[in-house]
Amino acid sequence: MQADNFDNELKNKISTIYSEVPDDIDHTLKSTFAILKVRRRKKFVKKASVFLCCALIIFISFVGTEFFKTAKVLGIDGKEAALILFGSSDSANIYADKVDEEKDCNGISFKITKIFYDGHRLEFRYEIESKDAALQGLEENGGVIDEIKMNGQKINILVDGTSEGMSYCEDSHSIVGDFRVDYNDPMINQITIRKIISSIAFNKRYFEIKAKSRINNKEYIWNINMRISMDNVYGKNLIVGNDKLINVKTNENIGNFTIKDITVTPVCIYVNGDIHIEKDYDDNSAQFIVKDQEGKEYYSDTMEAGYTNRERTEGIFEFTISKKPETKIKSLTFIPCKNFIPSFYDDLGKDKENWNEYHKKCDELIKQKKDRQIYVNEAAKIDIK
């Protein structure tokens, strides 16, 4: 055997046979390179993540140390300083004014004493107080609330849906007032309201209130900026609903009444409709007993009513029922009656300002009232969906 010849022959034969790489191998290599590319990318992302985490830890450690040092030098508590940094501290917030916090303007103070907002009604109660001079010189043309913005959106207060009333206290050194906007009032531009509602972010509501008054020919201006971030908080002076309201349109006749619109919010029920009577209803002082699906009775505030014709036989009515926030209303049964709340409503006096006390006293007084006279033997049950 000639080894060299054999080797050369065999090598030549093999190199002839395997002179080129089949296409399949090219494809295999391409897909292998693609796999490598993916692995490289993953490796890069992993490395970058580790690097970023390390950098972040170093940064936080460094900034944290310096941050608390700076806070200490400035005499601020570290936690408070952190809250300031993230915009959650009232001490560094322009919306830092609180309920019952006085704002002074040339010796006359203004304070918001109550905020009520449940998605349907926005209501402010306020108090103007002068320590020295009497406030009798306050001009009576128009209200004190000049401008209100909620979450940056101006609320048009020059519509029929808003109301403002003021009353002097006995000593003439203080005035209490109430400002109210009902959001589903047909007179209010619904698009504006939707904008206001949709602008509410993170369940926070920012109120900018400008109060203006002329007292003894001198102008006083108070600017209040409040942030209400507590959702579902119901206190003495602050009631903030979560905007979840149900509105039911109906045409239910009960005796002299036609219930047309019911709005249920977490804290209130608003009812309005028409009254049809044969003669002037001034003497009727009508009220409703309202029961929920479990038979629990609710007692309305004084009904507000107005004539819509000259004969005083047609009118519109509206009343509000307060309810506990946790109550979920599924249906309401309306029973008209008379001589009901008005007879003792005034007896409650100032206590009606206190939510819980008011209801307790209502319950006690209703139990005492044996002479409840239901003058319509009808009732209407309306499902709330």
Partner: protein
């Protein structure tokens, strides 16, 4: 402190070198294994392993030798694995599905060699690798390479001589 060893070949260079050596990879894998799809698997696994261990390569000059060594090991692993699972009747099927290639006798001759002879033969005849490099790749003495080549040559010669078609050429 642990310091990660720097690669002597960049990622881009790695891909270029793989493409440059693809014929060698194919020849070696084809010599060691029979079926085309297994050849592809072996090459892919070898390339991936080479990339993963690229930082272990000390000198770029030895890239080809190093790569072929990885491929040979991969082929040996495949052969070992296949030997365990192939049953006798599969051999018949395999024969029917083998690549229809004009070198079927040569392939059969190489496949009849023992594994240690086969790997030396493949490296020497298929990719024309020098004996000292074969020794390096297989991690054996050069004299062992020579002995194995001698034995392989003798056996191949006998097999192919008996084949009439080879004799006719």
């Amino acid at each position: 402190m642990l310091i990660k060893k720097r690669k002597v070949i960049s990622d881009k260079e790695f891909e270029i070198l793989i493409v440059e050596n693809k014929l060698s990879l194919y020849k070696v894998a084809k010599g060691m294994l029979k079926k085309e799809d297994i050849v592809q698997d072996a090459i892919q696994s070898a390339v991936l392993k080479a990339y993963e261990n690229l930082n272990k390569l000390n000198n770029a000059e030895f890239f080809k030798t190093w790569l072929i060594r990885i491929l040979i090991n991969e082929c040996k692993n495949i052969l070992k694995r296949d030997r365990k699972i192939i049953l006798l009747e599969d051999e018949i099927i395999n024969k029917a599905t083998e690549d229809t290639y004009k070198n079927i006798d040569l392939e059969r001759a190489i496949n009849n060699l023992d594994d240690d002879l086969k790997e030396v033969t493949v490296l020497y005849y298929f990719d024309d690798i020098l004996q000292k490099d074969i020794a390096e790749i297989l991690d054996i003495n050069e004299s062992t390479v020579r002995t194995r080549l001698l034995r392989a040559r003798k056996k191949l010669f006998e097999i192919l001589r008996d084949d009439e078609r080879y004799g006719g050429q």
